[in-house]
Amino acid sequence: MCLAIPMRLSQIDGLRGITQSGGVCCEVRLDLLPQVRVGDHVLVHAGYAIEVLDETLAAETLELLAELGALEDGAADGAS
């Protein structure tokens, strides 16, 4: 029920926005995100954009996971 889908905001017209996700366009309300900009990835729930996804933090999480992999590889190298 709290499902929220990440979508890219491609147009803003006042409090209405158009999002795109996998080639599908969708109208969303922007009432809850006054600071949103075209191009942002937003989480959409019940027809409303509820948060902007922070791409820097997403990238940081992915880098952290990549580091985990590097650590493991390092450990494997050391063992061999």
Binding site: M1, H45, I50, E51, L68, G69
Partner: protein, 368 residues
């Protein structure tokens, strides 16, 4: 700033990252078995869909808590919506999930009996319906946690027509988590916090809970990597005996949350005592319309009272206990023996995010 890949979710479904996180979990060595609870139907659904339980070390158990807003909603609110639709001929709008849960009867049954019941994607569509039908009374049965409550608030702040009424069955998560701590026989070692409700409230809303409960907490998202990351953080904190809040869903959840959404909720609603299936009445866990929005209060408009005497559950259904983690769905004698998604007995099997339904649909993936 680095761009997210064209499919922003792909990286969070990466099997290699899942394998690494799973290995890290297995490397931990807590001094006792750990039981964590999540309080989000979307988490239960994702945990089942991605077979997360089958990846966990034997010392780690994940229980589902009261995270399905449709399931926690007691029959009184549904019954009021059914009565408005059948007896007062209102155009009753609600989310698809609410159609089949039962007060005395369900809204789907009311529709079969001739009531005008419509499914809307969100509160804004209910407002549009009211605008399109100025000669009708349109009532939205609004259900959901903070994630959804802010959208109802936004619709009411956007100058809706006067013929739009709402029944607020919204519920707040933090008071329910306080109540869970008092459930006799429930022993927990940490909470996975609901990613999207926390998007609205911010992690700040859970800091005092974390220190007062003495249990670590971790916010997690809904992709398999997100969930494993949340569990790994939580298990690490619990193993090291640290009572802290970890945010494993930083891309969507900020410490202060979505302030505009919080302001919307605060200006439209005030906290009210509300009843939860399985937990009883929890102070300040519901949202009632403030006086300035009372003209949109459907119950007041139609002089309707919630019936407090409707039984909480179908005879024999153990949803109340499933909802607070005291019974696993498989522990209910009716699970797959008279109760199934095609012939559900209780809301936990009826709702798309009910614990019994998720467990039923995805259980094959756990037979390993």
């Amino acid at each position: 700033m680095r761009d997210l890949p064209s499919d922003p979710l792909a990286a969070f479904r990466d099997p290699e990252s899942m394998r690494r996180l799973t290995r890290r979990l297995h490397e931990l060595a807590p001094s006792r078995p750990l039981t964590f609870m999540h309080v989000c139907g979307t988490h239960e659904n994702a945990i089942g869909r991605f077979g997360i339980r089958s990846l966990l070390p034997p010392w780690l158990r994940i229980l589902a808590g009261p995270g399905c807003p449709v399931c926690v909603c007691p029959p009184a609110e549904i019954d009021a919506a059914v009565r408005l639709a059948l007896e007062r001929s209102v155009l009753l709008a609600t989310f698809g999930d609410m159609l089949h849960v039962v007060g005395r009867i369900s809204l789907a049954r009311a529709r079969a009996l001739g009531a005008d019941v419509r499914v809307v994607r969100g509160p804004h569509e209910a407002s549009l319906l009211a605008r399109r039908h100025p000669d009708r009374q349109v009532v939205l049965l609004a259900v959901g946690f903070e994630t959804t409550a802010c959208t109802t608030a936004a619709a009411l702040l956007a100058d809706p027509p006067d013929n739009l009424g709402i029944i607020s069955a919204h519920r707040l998560i933090p008071p329910a988590m306080d109540a869970l701590l008092g459930v006799p026989g429930l022993r927990l070692d940490g909470f996975l916090l609901p990613g999207h409700a926390t998007t609205i409230t911010g992690t700040a809303a859970y800091l005092s809970f974390t220190s007062a409960s003495g249990l670590p907490t971790a916010v997690a998202g809904f992709e398999p990597v997100d969930i494993l990351l949340g569990l790994e953080r939580l298990a690490t904190l619990a193993t090291e005996g640290r009572v802290e809040l970890a945010n494993a869903y930083g891309r969507a959840v900020r410490p202060a949350g979505n302030l505009a959404a919080q302001r919307a909720i605060e200006s439209v609603f005030e906290p009210a005592d509300a009843s939860w299936r399985g937990l009883g009445t929890i102070p300040g866990s519901g949202l009632a319309l403030r006086a300035t929005f009372r003209r949109h209060d459907a119950l007041a408009r139609f002089h309707l009272e919630l019936d407090p005497d409707l039984p909480d559950s179908v005879p024999g259904c153990r949803c109340g206990e499933v909802m607070v983690g005291l019974v696993e769905p498989e522990g209910c004698p009716h699970f797959d023996a008279g109760c199934a998604p095609t012939s559900p007995r209780g809301p936990c099997m009826i709702s798309a995010e009910g614990t019994c339904r998720s467990r039923f649909i995805f259980r094959e993936s756990e037979l390993d």
